[in-house]
Symmetry: C2
Subunit: 193 residues, 2 copies
DNA sequence: CTGAAATTTCAACGAATTTTGAAACAAGTG
DNA sequence: CACTTGTTTCAAAATTCGTTGAAATTTCAG
């Protein structure tokens, strides 16, 4: 059972390719902190020329109806799929949004950046604590070192924020003088301690 | 029990700050696909002015000796900590590597890029299958559409590879004309399908 | 060498997450 | 309306992942 050498009917090739892509996309998004099933569902929709129903997706992905329903809900919340109105049909049909970079940007902004922000705040709190202690005990040298390190982390997370933010902005066609700042932003941070 | 307002002994502030940073770093790296305990261990080492033993780390992180040992092993494999030779001591002492960007770069290169590479190969295989089928059935229009979409994913993953690669290269002081390519690399991809 | 201390390994446990399957619910048709 | 078909919900089952605790192994001071 070879893959590329046997020329079957087109639908077979389609099914084969869909399986492969679906599986791959599953791994990809799983690594990114999503459920693999979401990636697989999305990929099936993405590679289908026609809108699909939950039932069809369940068949394609070998998931239960329940799992598909939940996955689709989440995909909908992320704005990755839409319902397609099909007149005179009881079941609901869905398609995948195909502007992938747009999708990636939104996820970065709404998830990664929030996380870094949150971390920055906490690092800042740590720095504050250490700063207060340092002021209360100006003689303590090791305390000062610790403070320095903590500040390093704070700077790091702030720089990371800017970097990721820019990473997300790239691909946005509507932006001016962003390029060129990437490296210079970073250089200042690289020698902490 | 307020945090910033009470001025205790410096060691208290240090402990408090370390706990906070350690916890935060744990969440951060967990989100990145590592065990949270690794981040916590690393943070403790990073915020310590002196090298620490496994036992001390177990106390600081409230992990078992076993968990610490495993975490340290993994941290060692990633080159994030080193053993510090302390003469006349049976136990082993460790310190954290402090060049964080260097660390991030290596992880991106050895983990993220590998993953994307792997995915690219699989997308490519899917494209091959569809291409063969298209050649065998040049009349089939929907097949051609599917092929197109699959190619979109392939291009995407290749672009993503380059982008992430560059993201990792940034912070490397020794590099020339990389800046400026970031956006242009991407623009070509944004309109697939 | 020897033995105590430190470290590593690993099976079992537990927590967290995902999926299932079935029941409740909704929607649309005849 | 009542009935069929499709969809959602949710508790239980399955799976995955990290941690524990103790046994096995290594290390080195005496």
């Amino acid at each position: 059972m070879t893959t590329t050498s046997s020329f079957g009917k087109p639908s077979e090739a389609q099914a084969q390719a869909m399986m492969l892509v679906s599986e791959t996309m599953g791994e990809l998004v799983e690594f990114w902190g999503f459920k693999a099933s979401m990636g697989r569902i999305w990929a099936c929709l993405y590679l289908s020329t026609t809108p699909l129903t939950a039932q069809q997706l369940a068949d394609l992905t070998s998931l239960s109806a329940g799992a598909v329903s939940m996955g689709m809900h989440e995909l909908g919340q992320w704005g990755l799929i839409s319902r397609v109105p099909v007149p005179g049909e009881r079941k609901r049909y869905y398609t995948a949004h195909t502007d992938i970079w747009e999708i990636i940007r939104r996820i970065i902004r709404e998830r990664e950046l929030r996380l870094i922000e949150r971390s920055s705040k906490r690092f800042e709190r740590a720095v504050d604590i250490l700063q207060a202690a340092t002021e209360a005990h100006p003689d303590n040298a090791s305390l000062r070192i610790v403070l320095n390190r903590a500040q390093g982390l704070l700077t790091l997370s702030k720089t990371g924020y800017k970097l990721v933010e820019r990473f997300a902005d790239i691909g946005d066609f509507s932006l001016g003088p962003i390029r060129g700042t990437l490296k210079s932003t970073l250089v200042k941070t690289a020698q902490n301690d």
